[in-house]
Symmetry: C2
Subunit: 237 residues, 2 copies
Amino acid sequence: MSATKVPLTPGSAPPAPAIPERPASKGGLNAKQRQEVIALATLVPFRPRAILYRENAPEGFIFVCADGVLKSYRDLPSGRRRVVTFRYPGDLFGLAEAGRYVNTVQAVTPGSAYRIPIEPLYAKLRQDGELQFQVLTRVTQDLREAQRQSIVLSRRSADGRIAMFLKHLQGHLPVQSIDLIPVPMSRSDIAAFLGLTLESVSRGMAKLARNGIIAPQGPRYLQIVSQKKLDALAADV
Amino acid sequence: MSATKVPLTPGSAPPAPAIPERPASKGGLNAKQRQEVIALATLVPFRPRAILYRENAPEGFIFVCADGVLKSYRDLPSGRRRVVTFRYPGDLFGLAEAGRYVNTVQAVTPGSAYRIPIEPLYAKLRQDGELQFQVLTRVTQDLREAQRQSIVLSRRSADGRIAMFLKHLQGHLPVQSIDLIPVPMSRSDIAAFLGLTLESVSRGMAKLARNGIIAPQGPRYLQIVSQKKLDALAADV
DNA sequence: CGTACGTTTGAAGGAGCTCAAACGCGGTGG
DNA sequence: CCACCGCGTTTGAGCTCCTTCAAACGTACG
C-alpha cells in the first residue's frame, strides 16, 4: 500500500557493499564470519512494495538486509494488517517456524538484501558454533525488541506510542541525522505497527508538533525540536 | 536488589527429574543433550513469590523451568508493572543482554527449575552446534510468541484479549484438563500481561461467562463451556 | 491540468480507565 | 470454635481518548 519514492536510497544497488554494521548495541559478525556468510549469499536488490517472502510460504532463504527498509507483517482474519517489525540494514530475518515463514516481508524503500539458502546456512551454523552464537545473540536481541514493542503497545495514549516509535527510528536509522529523522514508512504502516488507526497517528504527530517536540518537514521527515521532551514523553510509561 | 528469603538455593538438590517435554509445538532436546545439560545444572525448588533474578542484575545463570509457573516482568518508570511473559515447564529463560538480565523473574506457583551457570553452558553451546541449534530454535519460538503477544495487545476489546490469553493457557498447561483450566496467576498478573486494568480483566471474564463461553469455578479455575465460541472470539482479530 | 493516493482535519460514539465501595475467602487470634 | 482482619476480586458511575465515519487538502504523476 504505498509506492512513494522517497529518496531514502537514491542509488540502485549493483556493487555489493559489505554487510553494514549496526548503528548501536547490535552485535555483528567479524570479518571472517562475514566473509564466509557472504560466500553463501546472493545480494538481491529490491524496489518498494517488493515482497521477499510471504506468510506461510515454505522457507527457502534467510535474509540479511543490506540497504533500505522493509516491513514484516501479518494479515489478520479481520482483514486488518499488523506490522510486526520493521527491518533495517544489518537485520537478519526469515527464520521460519515449522518450515514455513511466519510473516510477510515487503520492501518499504528501495534497497538490497543478502539472500542465503537455508540448507548450507543451517549446515554451517551447526558446524560453526561461534558463528551460530552470533546468530543466537541477534535473535535474542530481536526477542528483546519484540518485548519492548509489547510495552509500547500497552500504552494508552497515541502520542506516547508515537514518541517511543520515534526513538525506535532514531535507534535504527543513520546516526548522522539524529535531529532530522527520515520516516520511510507511511502513516498506515506506522499505525499498523503501533496498533493505532492512521488518523490517530496523524493526530498524535500533530499533537507532538503543537507541544514543541517535533517539526514535520513534510510527511516523511521529522525534525526533533526537543530531544529532551521526546525522551521524557517516551519514558513516561 | 535481592531479598526474599525463599529457599531458592537450598544447596541440596533433590534427585533430578527429567526436563519435561513441552506440551505442544515446542522443540525439545533429545535424551543425550538433555543429559549433558543436566550435568551442568542444579535443580532448585522455588516457592510462590520467590525471585529467581532481577532486572539489570548481572547474568549468572540460565534457567529451565522444570515444574510450576513463573512470571517475567519489568517495572516501568511510572511504577506500573508489565508482565512480559509467563514461563511454564520446559521453558528456557535467563538469556541476558549486555551481560545483564532484562526482566525480573518471579515464581507464581511453587515449583522448581534447573539452574545452569552461563560460563560452562556458553562454552558447551559454542562447541556443540547441534545443541545450540536447539536453543536457537527455542529462542526463535519465544520470538514468535512475543510477536503473537503484540497482536494480542493490538486488540482493543478486553474480552478479545482475554480469549487469546485463555487459548495461550490452554497451549501451555497440562493437556488433560483442557476443559477445566487452572489459572495459576492473579487477575492483576493477567492484567499486567494483557495491558489492561485488573477491573477490565474481571469485567471481561464476567462477559465471557455471560456469553456462555466460560464458567468460572472460583477465580483460579475456569471451565470452558464452549470451545467453539472461544476459538471464534480469539480468532476475531 | 486532471486524477489518485496519502495525509490531515472534523464530529459523534464506544470501550476501557480511574476513583470508589462492597463482596468473599483464607488466615489469625481470642 | 468463632470473630476479626487482610487481600484479592467483583461491581458501580463518570470521564477520557481512541475509533469510526466522512470530507477536505496537497502533492505526485499521467
